[in-house]
Symmetry: C2
Subunit: 242 residues, 2 copies
């Protein structure tokens, strides 16, 4: 079972105050790039893996998706997601993505935002999602970038010019990473980009696009704190098709 850090009260309280949870998709700088990877969702049955408060699940319905299944391990998240909508075509369920089995060929679009780095077995997950999608479907997701996750001590340092630099080590040593973020001992699983893409390809997906998110100059003007994202990518966005 995946660690349920989101139901840790300290974590949940901190998480709920993040800009992307307060402001929704407008508070997620990668959202325009991620959305650009989506197919036309009108009439589609979509699954949102790690739906959290349901920001994307609701967006999918507002954009014409027929039905949306939102899945999350956290009771807190699902409770909040349910409170935010009266839409009966969004089904929010508590389930562990590490082990969940979706019905075969039941979806036309699969999506996940910043969730799969909590999952130990991505090979199983990719195969399961492939089975759950109809031919011609798209599967789009974001994860923490392996450059961001690899290091034993993921903290900015300075290079000899005083410019911010991100220390990378243990990149090829995959597996568990424990970090303190909103709570102590958050467990994540580091995989190289190659491992993630090869798992998709082996499962039967074609890679459509890979985006190592960087903010635009306009985004940096509006939010100067984003500038450091040019130095090293924090998020990896992948679009694939079945």
């Amino acid at each position: 079972m995946a660690q349920n850090i989101y139901d840790n009260p300290d974590f949940f309280s901190g998480y709920s105050r993040l800009p992307r949870q307060v402001h929704g998709l407008a508070g997620a700088p990668e959202w325009p790039r991620l959305r650009a990877m989506f197919p036309d969702v009108a009439g589609k049955r979509a699954v949102d893996l790690g739906c959290g408060f349901g920001w994307v699940s609701r967006w999918l319905r507002e954009s014409g998706a027929d039905k949306v299944l939102g899945i999350d391990l956290s009771e807190n998240m699902i409770a909040r997601a349910r409170e935010t909508t009266a839409d009966t075509e969004i089904d929010y369920r508590i389930a562990d993505i590490e082990t969940v089995e979706l019905p075969e060929a039941a979806f036309d679009f699969a999506f996940s935002s910043l969730t799969f780095h909590y999952i130990r077995d991505f090979d199983r997950l990719a195969r399961m999602i492939h089975r759950a999608l109809t031919p011609g479907s798209h599967f789009v997701f974001s994860i923490e970038h392996p450059i961001f996750m690899a290091a034993a001590h993921p903290n900015w340092i300075e290079d000899e010019d005083g410019r911010k630099a991100w220390p990378v080590n243990r990149y090829s040593i995959e597996g568990e990473r424990r970090t303190d973020w909103l709570a102590k001992g958050v467990v994540k699983y580091h995989r190289t980009i190659g491992t993630t893409l090869n798992a998709l390809i082996r499962a039967g997906f074609a890679i459509e696009a890979v985006d190592e998110f960087a903010p635009t100059l306009e985004q940096i003007r509006e939010n100067p704190a984003l500038e450091e994202e040019l130095e090293r990518p924090m998020m990896l966005l992948v679009s694939s098709s079945r």
Copy 2:
């Protein structure tokens, strides 16, 4: 025109003494992984872009390729490549990969080792190679890994535990990098992994596998200096099909 650093006498002299030039493919630790990406080359017409001394061109012929075209910008390299073989089915030519145009549908396999990071316009190159290949062909190459190339100061540092760490910055700022390696001011072009893969996909290639080379434990036992390659990848290996 690409910088012709290989015909700089100091560079060439240093380069000729690298283990992979003295020992050939046995001196290139990534070779077993790269070779595993190859299709059966028997009967195929192959092109080796940036062939250097011709190690792979010769291997391709020894493995049954029908004909091999080896291209390199460096007169020194091509002269040496020609000296090492009497095989009339290997054609070594001096040409700039930045601008070279290969004939249409003239090859069944395209290969390149550690060359494309010297090329400014990878989009053009990917489209040109796609045109030069027959349907069903494979295109396999290695480049310096963008994690290795990105930084303003690409030198090992130590993290707070005294473990080697590789500083990454300017990752999302693509373009020219000047480094001192065997000679001063070697010009390379940094691109993110996403940019490289998306250029292939846009040109019409399907991504088959992505390998961020890491040595095996056996390779590290034989050559302990390779151990640092586990901390950050130096090479990116890509297999694609047309």
